[in-house]
């Protein structure tokens, strides 16, 4: 994690305003990248030694140090050696321990036995060590803009590393954030802001009650690149920076490097179903991650909504209950039972052995093995009349179906 001395921000009241690298930094970043390019094919240590001295242009020292560190994290290095380095070391140092011959004679003898020249042997000796690896070109050309964005991400993550809680108002892709929070052991409180898909998440580690911890701070920082995939967001984080409690604010459009696109589907089964259903029933829209559903004081995130294109009132929710632990399946089915959704289709893996009594009354069930039969689902929805499901009302108190604790939060506009 970024050391405190590289966290560049100014303080305005209780706000910590990060010093993002922007267009004005691009000229010196370009020079840095040119220096890096100049050393391609040479040992990493030579590049490191060069970068210990200033660039031939004006560059803010702290930002430069940050950019060098971020560049280093990209691990643009490769190994090339005539002899596997470990083998070369075993032979050379073993031989040196056996004889009292001068080093050059030992190298010549070993080089001959390995069928390489002395120079090749010497190059191989430490060819795998970080400083000796050769500087390599990035797979995709690295622009000054990209490096600046990557630096900004590292700075923000460094600040969140020292945070206790983040509050995110977000539209779209909420599920990705919630899922990541849960995976990293964070506590996530969710409240809807309005009837739309927008929500407010309050995310913190279990220890946040007592103090900020690096363990959960790192997890909070991991949420940031995911935010780039949300159409709109606003984040406020309570951080402890240089022993001061300060608030960090981020919003849509801040210059931060995004994560790679989040996985659209949780499993291949889901992906295949969506693809086959779209092909089979072009008049039905397959909506991934529809709005969450209020279910007896809980929120459910169904996998799909299937909506008729010319008659949007014909809408079905579809949940694929795949290979999970028995407890998880039991909890999920209990939630759906309590929701009493009139237009629910449950696709259940035959391997789950769900008894009929466990299933929500009124739900249409399609059992599957390995792949969900899109035709069977289409048959269900075209042969059954359907009514709309109840959507979540604002201000409802929820508990999340994914094992997260949820509670009502004050509306952001309140």
């Amino acid at each position: 994690m970024l050391s405190a001395d590289l966290l560049s921000y100014s303080v305005a009241g209780t706000l910590a305003v990060p010093h993002f690298l922007g267009e004005h930094d691009h000229p010196w970043i370009r020079v840095l990248l040119e220096e890096h390019e100049r050393f391609i094919g040479r040992p990493q240590r030579e590049l490191e030694a060069r970068l210990r001295d200033p660039l031939p242009c004006e560059s803010p020292p702290r930002k430069l140090k940050l950019a060098i560190q971020v560049l280093g994290r990209l691990r643009l290095r490769e190994r090339k050696s005539a002899v596997p380095p470990r083998r070369a070391r075993a032979h050379v140092f073993g031989e040196a321990a056996r004889t009292s011959a001068p080093p050059q004679a030992i190298l010549s003898k070993v080089a001959t036995s390995l069928g390489v020249s002395v120079e090749e042997l010497q190059d191989s000796l430490f060819g795998d060590l970080p400083g000796e690896r050769l500087v390599a070109a990035p797979a995709q050309p690295l622009s000054a803009v990209e490096l600046a964005l990557r630096c900004n991400l590292v700075v923000v993550q460094g600040m969140l590393f020292r945070a206790t809680v983040v509050r995110i108002e977000v539209e779209g892709n909420t599920r990705v954030l919630v899922r990541h929070a849960k995976w990293r052991g964070l506590i996530c409180a969710v409240a809807e802001r309005s009837g739309s898909a927008s929500a407010t998440l309050e995310i913190s580690g279990p220890f946040a009650l007592f103090r900020n911890t690096g363990l959960y701070g790192r997890a909070l920082g991991e949420l940031v690149p995911l935010l780039a995939w949300c159409p709109r967001f606003r984040l406020r984080a309570e951080c402890v920076l240089h022993e001061r409690r300060l608030t960090l604010q981020l919003a849509t459009g801040d210059p931060i490097f995004p994560s790679s696109a989040p996985r659209r589907y949780d499993s291949l089964v889901e992906e295949r179903f969506a693809r086959e259903f779209r092909r089979l029933a072009p008049v039905w829209d397959v909506i991934r991650e529809p709005e969450p559903i209020a279910a007896g004081g809980t929120l459910i995130f169904p996998d799909f909504a299937l909506r008729h294109r010319s008659d949007p009132s014909r809408e079905w929710l579809l949940e694929i209950v795949g290979f999970w632990t028995p407890d998880y399946v039991a909890r999920k089915l209990a939630l759906y039972r309590s929701a009493r959704l009139p237009n629910l289709i449950l696709c259940i893996d035959e391997g789950r052995n769900c008894a009929e009594g466990d299933l929500p009354s009124g739900a249409r069930v399609v059992r599957y093995r390995r792949r969900v039969d899109a035709a069977a689902v289409l048959h269900v929805i075209e042969s059954t009349p359907c009514s709309c499901y109840p959507s979540a009302r604002p201000g409802t108190e929820f508990r999340c179906s994914r094992g997260l604790s949820l509670r009502r939060l004050p509306r952001a506009d309140a």
Binding site: F93, G94, A97, L129, G131, I187, S204, F207, L215
Partner: protein
């Protein structure tokens, strides 16, 4: 009322109405989950608090214990017995400080065996992870858990690297009664402390050869592990339970070119440092670097400092002296210690001796140590890897070409030579450059070898 472990904390649900939890140790109301919560490390105190008030509660399931019959007896030397007794008398909490080679691991094994508690041992590196697994395996026939080096396997006796424990303590924190921390001086002032805050273990034993002298760190360690309950220095055991050794300091000169360069670099550095000292008489080195990084003059001074260190790391005289020492001790097992990896590799290339650095993979390190044990390799050069805990077999000569971490590092390095054997007398050479910063550094680092304190019982 129910107590539940939750990711490094204790959650209290459904407390009786008449019980006021306001004064309970570490407990706070958590509105996120509508329950009370306390850090896991407060569990023993919280439990005592609840029992004292006669509260009835469903407790956290007790950690599974190792099978006592599967243990072989663990014999201890007298000073190890005394250390263990001191720890027992300290209510099974505290730090034991013993020199390298005096059998701290054995003491830990005895603590596990005698207390019969489920135990998590924290070690700093993957190499030490393997070493501890071997040593426990020799005395305990049951399964031994391991967290680290890509393995996640739990058992009532488990060894974990600091890093792995840090990442998994939110899951492991309720599974052990006793936590043993090897090289405990790494705790007390950083992220790793979170590991010890997230476990319910009441019994805690810290082991080190070099306890921290920093009052802040010592206070924090007392909170997390316990106070130092027993301490012996190298000089207390040398010649008896540790091998005797001769410490020889060789004072060397710089060649004229080096002296000229050093003098100008030192002048640049000293001028900036003196200005800072005038402004902040009690400022620390960290304050100085922080301050200097803000101005071009300061940055030049810091750069001069780094260049001075690089220049002194492996001077011409050190090169020649090392060559001569390696020739003289051609048939001994020699360890060369440097200030940085760069110098270690320079020596490796020049004298064709195997470097043992953090860059060398673990399997290769194991292989190298095994070859050193067999005598196929007779000399190793290292900057830091050999400093701590690693069981280096039968080395009898050390050459300290340079050091960066002061007294603690030096004690640990010398300790590598002190595993006793029949008639052994080790030799430690220190190469120190005259009229440079190295003279003061060498004087300070040697202080760690003298008798510090007697055992506290």
């Amino acid at each position: 009322m129910k107590l539940r472990f939750d990711r490094g904390t204790i959650v209290l649900t459904d407390p009786p109405k008449e019980l006021d939890l306001v004064g309970a140790p570490g407990v706070r109301w958590d509105p996120r989950v509508h329950a009370h919560r306390a850090p896991a490390s407060q569990y023993p105190a919280l439990k005592r608090w609840l029992l004292h008030r006669g509260s009835r509660f469903q407790d956290i399931p007790p950690p599974a214990r190792p099978t006592h019959e599967l243990w072989s007896d663990v014999d201890l030397r007298p000073y190890q017995e005394a250390a263990l007794s001191a720890w027992e008398l300290g209510h099974r909490r505290g730090v034991v400080a013993l020199p390298t080679g005096s059998g701290k691991t054995r003491l830990a094994l005895a603590a596990m065996h005698r207390t019969r508690l489920s135990t998590l041992c924290l070690v700093p590196t993957r190499v030490l992870l393997d070493q501890w697994l071997r040593e426990i395996g020799a005395l305990y026939q049951g399964p031994v858990g391991c967290y680290g080096d890509g393995v996640r396997r739990w058992a009532p006796l488990t060894i974990a690297t600091f890093e792995s424990a840090y990442r998994h303590m939110d899951q492991l924190g309720d599974r052990f009664d006793l936590v043993i921390v090897d090289e405990v001086h790494h705790f007390g002032g950083g992220l790793r402390d979170e590991t010890l805050e997230m476990t319910i273990a009441d019994a805690r034993l810290g082991l080190t050869a070099t306890p921290s002298r920093d009052p802040g760190v010592a206070a924090r360690l007392t909170e997390l592990v316990g106070a130092t309950v027993f301490e012996l220095a190298v000089a207390d055991l040398a010649g008896g339970f540790l091998a005797s050794f001769d410490a020889i300091t060789l004072y060397l000169d710089l060649v004229p070119e080096e002296r000229t360069a050093y003098t100008s670099l030192a002048a640049l550095f000293r001028s900036a440092h003196a200005d800072f000292r005038q402004m902040v008489p009690n400022g620390s080195w960290a304050d100085f670097t922080h301050y200097s990084a803000r101005t071009p003059e300061g940055r030049r001074a810091l750069s001069a400092w780094r260049q001075m260190r690089r220049l002194l790391a492996f001077t011409y005289a050190k090169r020649r002296t090392l060559e001569s020492l390696l020739g003289r001790h051609r048939h001994s097992r020699v360890l060369i210690f440097t200030a940085d990896n760069e110098t270690a590799y320079a020596i490796a290339r020049e004298h064709l001796v195997m470097p043992l650095t953090c860059d060398i993979s673990r399997p290769e390190r194991d292989d190298v140590l095994e070859r050193f044990r067999r005598g196929d390799l007779r000399t190793l050069v290292s900057a830091r890897v050999l400093n701590e805990g690693l069981d280096v077999p039968d080395a009898d000569v050390a050459v300290v070409v340079g050091g960066a971490l002061g007294e603690r590092e030096h004690v640990q390095r010398v300790g590598r030579l002190l595993r006793p054997s029949e008639g052994k007398r080790a030799v430690v050479y220190e190469l120190v450059t005259r009229n440079t910063i190295e003279v003061g550094q060498a004087r300070r680092r040697r202080q760690g070898l003298v008798v510090r304190r007697s055992a506290q019982l």
